[in-house]
């Protein structure tokens, strides 16, 4: 039995290698490591589509210094698989660099492997700050981090939410609630620090299990603390639960501010109906932002639509596209597969803010983190998520929710 299994897996292994690598010797092989199956598959695939469009575009324009780019897909649903797939890409496939990976857990595990193998890893979408905070030399990240999400949400209270409500931000009472996984804990923790630094009043800050089936006691806590603004970092189910149980308990804060996750999704908006009107959300740049501040955005959406037949399903494809495009540019400039040459070129690479489709700039720090990536403040208005801040990419004015 076991012998058979081994034989089958060996055959399958050969088949995948044959099927997906029609690479010629003079091609440049790049890995694309994302969760393509399992619970993260939807947004993992959405992220990959961004990379795919960037690569296709580059190949159509002659590839990297005349060499064609071949993308090699690797499916990593969790940290374990990420390690296995990263090993395959670096040792069997011999890729020059790897793009990834949407999920922070996947990225953290895969980068440990690639660093040892001396293969540069270009992170385009995972937000945990620790990914570029571990002193790894060949891990570079184009996208904004959890700290950026948190800072933008607190800044928004002062710059947007309070002025819209016509009150002094210092008089507003904040409740910071977050799911107790890595994502919620990171964002929630940074929000607390930033609120304290800016002198805002936090009356309640509370972690809860994202797998909870009842948040009514949390609602009562926040309600009896008299919070005016609720900042929630959450997934889908807990977002719905908190909204529903707040309505049942007759609790209406003056504003909700989400941090990506459940707050960005159309499904959630549809399920909540009118209750989502006026709710704020901090997230990666979305395709609905004002294209005047984001050159190339319209072209990206058109290319996406041509290739996949639908509108982008979230902002993930956009930020992955922008990041991948920059790193392909860097590979061309480095004109070498040597890891140190690539690192040098990454650190020297510059693009001013507002010069690309995500309205980001590029300037990598010593830790490999792009310091000119940001997140935007959005708001649900008439069933659509519109960008309201910063003004350069805003597509609508903020409104007072119901």
């Amino acid at each position: 039995m076991i012998k058979n299994l081994k034989r089958i897996s060996a055959v399958l292994g050969c088949m995948t290698v044959i099927a997906i690598t029609p690479a010629k010797a003079q091609d440049i092989k790049l890995g694309a490591l994302f969760p393509f199956s399992g619970g993260l598959a939807l947004l993992g695939d959405e992220s990959y589509r961004g990379v795919k469009i960037a690569v296709d575009e580059r190949n159509a324009a002659g590839g990297i210094n005349g060499k064609k780019i071949v993308l090699i897909k690797a499916d990593a649903v969790d940290a374990n698989q990420a390690v296995g797939e990263a090993r395959r890409l670096t040792s069997v496939e011999g890729v020059t660099a790897i793009f990834g990976s949407f999920a922070s857990g996947v990225s953290s595990a895969a980068t440990q492997v690639t660093e040892l193998a001396g293969v540069p890893y270009f992170e385009l979408g995972a937000v945990a700050d620790t990914i570029t905070g571990r002193g790894l030399k060949y891990v570079f990240r184009s996208n904004s981090t959890a700290k950026n999400f948190a800072d933008r949400s607190i800044e928004s209270i002062i710059k947007v939410v309070a002025p819209t409500l016509k009150v002094d931000p210092k008089t507003l009472k904040l409740a910071i609630i977050y799911e107790d996984g890595p994502y919620g804990t990171l964002v929630g923790g940074f929000q607390k620090e930033e609120a304290k630094r800016l002198g805002l009043t936090v009356v309640e800050s509370q972690a809860y299990s994202g797998k909870s089936v009842d948040l009514s006691s949390l609602v009562l806590r926040v309600k009896s603390a008299g919070a005016d603004i609720v900042l929630q970092t959450s997934y889908q189910n807990d977002t719905l639960l908190f909204f529903r149980q707040s309505a049942t308990a007759g609790y209406k804060p003056r504003a909700f501010i989400g941090a990506g996750g459940g707050y960005s999704l159309n499904d959630i908006a549809q399920t909540l109906g009118a209750a989502i009107e006026g709710v704020y959300d901090v997230d990666f740049p979305q395709i609905t932002m004002n294209a005047a501040g984001a050159p190339g955005l319209k072209e990206f959406v058109a290319a996406y639509q041509k290739q996949f037949g639908i509108q982008p399903r979230s902002g993930h494809s956009l930020v992955n596209y922008v990041g991948a495009k920059a790193f392909l540019d860097i590979l061309a400039k480095a004109n070498s597969t040597d890891k140190d040459k690539i690192r040098q070129t990454v650190l020297a690479y510059r693009q001013p803010v507002g010069s690309n489709a995500a309205a980001w700039g590029f300037h990598f720090g010593e830790n490999g983190q792009n310091q000119l990536a940001s997140t935007n403040l959005m708001q649900w208005q008439h069933g659509k998520l519109v960008t309201v801040y910063p003004e350069s990419v805003a597509s609508a004015k903020p409104i007072v929710g119901n």
């Binding site: 809860y208 009842d214 006691s217 999704l265 959630i268």
Partner: protein, 297 residues
């Protein structure tokens, strides 16, 4: 400082929330305790049964406009068939194998169903669009949702009905005989295999009923079952494996702790609190509150 009146009304609201949450746990736990108690199989696929039931309810609501309370009965039948087939074709061939093997088999079914749902439905959250059952009711300063009250009442009625069935009917007695000793029951003329199939089917059917009731309050997504089922396992062990009154009282107890600890201690610590109480109870009564005692298998 809050006034005394406000403090008291929050406390009563918390008690009410806790009992109603207990009702939701109870309706999920009743079927689990039956399978646990009679077939003596730890059914790790119970949560996925709930998930499948909730998807079925959602599909019936989307395509035929059936209210979840109506489709609950149809889905209960569907899950009866699913549960009975699982017992007949997966558990029964393993009956004389080591009990661990059956556990692994149910874990296998659980993983397969979970990933099947991910393939078919994706990871999105879906919710049946209903009005009846989602209205907020105000009773003085207290608020509750009508569907929670309905779930609570149905859970109690079903538990009482099942209790009568187990005590008063021949089949019920056969269930209990099997729970106590499979060999002796077989010697007394109980058809072990078909009784197991029936018990597993009824247990799964009850979770089908639960899915109709819960789909009014909760959205469905592939991992929804796991949200409920870990707590349901705790409840079943706490109440005593196979004991219906134990499952109901355990559910209400856990619901109350969840609500009170969530408010007075903190939502991130409520699980710590109820697992500590759970451990304490098991140390004092290893077979649970209403367990059959050490004599049973």
């Amino acid at each position: 400082m809050r006034s005394l009146g406000a403090t008291v009304s929050i406390f009563i609201q918390l008690l009410l929330n806790g009992l109603l949450l207990g009702g939701a746990y109870a309706i999920v736990s009743i079927g689990l305790t039956l399978i646990f108690g009679v077939v003596r199989v730890v059914n790790f696929a119970h949560g996925e049964f709930l998930m499948i039931g909730m998807y079925a309810v959602w599909l019936l609501a989307q395509h035929f406009g059936l209210h979840p309370y109506v489709s609950a009965l149809l889905v209960a039948l569907l899950l009866f068939v699913l549960g009975a087939s699982m017992q007949r074709f997966i558990i029964q061939p393993l009956l004389s194998a080591d009990p661990h093997i059956q556990v692994f088999a149910t874990i296998g079914v659980s993983t397969a169903l979970l990933n099947l749902a991910l393939m078919v439905f994706g990871a999105d959250v879906r919710k049946a669009d209903v009005v009846f059952g989602t209205e907020s009711l105000m009773v003085g300063p207290l608020t509750l949702v009508s569907g929670q009250l309905i779930t609570f009442v149905v859970a109690l009625v079903v538990a009482a009905g099942m209790h009568l069935f187990l005590q008063r009917t021949y089949t019920g007695r056969a269930f209990r005989a099997l729970a106590q000793n499979r060999m002796a029951a077989a010697l007394m003329g109980v058809n072990v295999n078909s009784t197991y199939v029936l018990a597993f089917g009824i247990g799964a059917g009850l979770v089908g009923l639960a899915s109709g009731l819960l789909a009014v309050q909760y959205p469905v997504f592939p991992t929804v079952g796991q949200y409920f089922v870990l707590t349901a396992f705790v409840i079943v062990v706490l109440g005593g494996m196979g004991s219906l009154p134990g499952a109901v009282i355990g559910s209400l107890f856990i619901g109350l702790i969840d609500s009170l600890a969530g408010f007075y201690i903190g939502p991130d610590l409520k699980e710590v609190v109820y697992f500590l109480i759970f451990l304490a109870i098991l140390i004092v009564r290893p077979t649970g509150l209403f367990g059959l005692g050490r004599g049973s298998e």
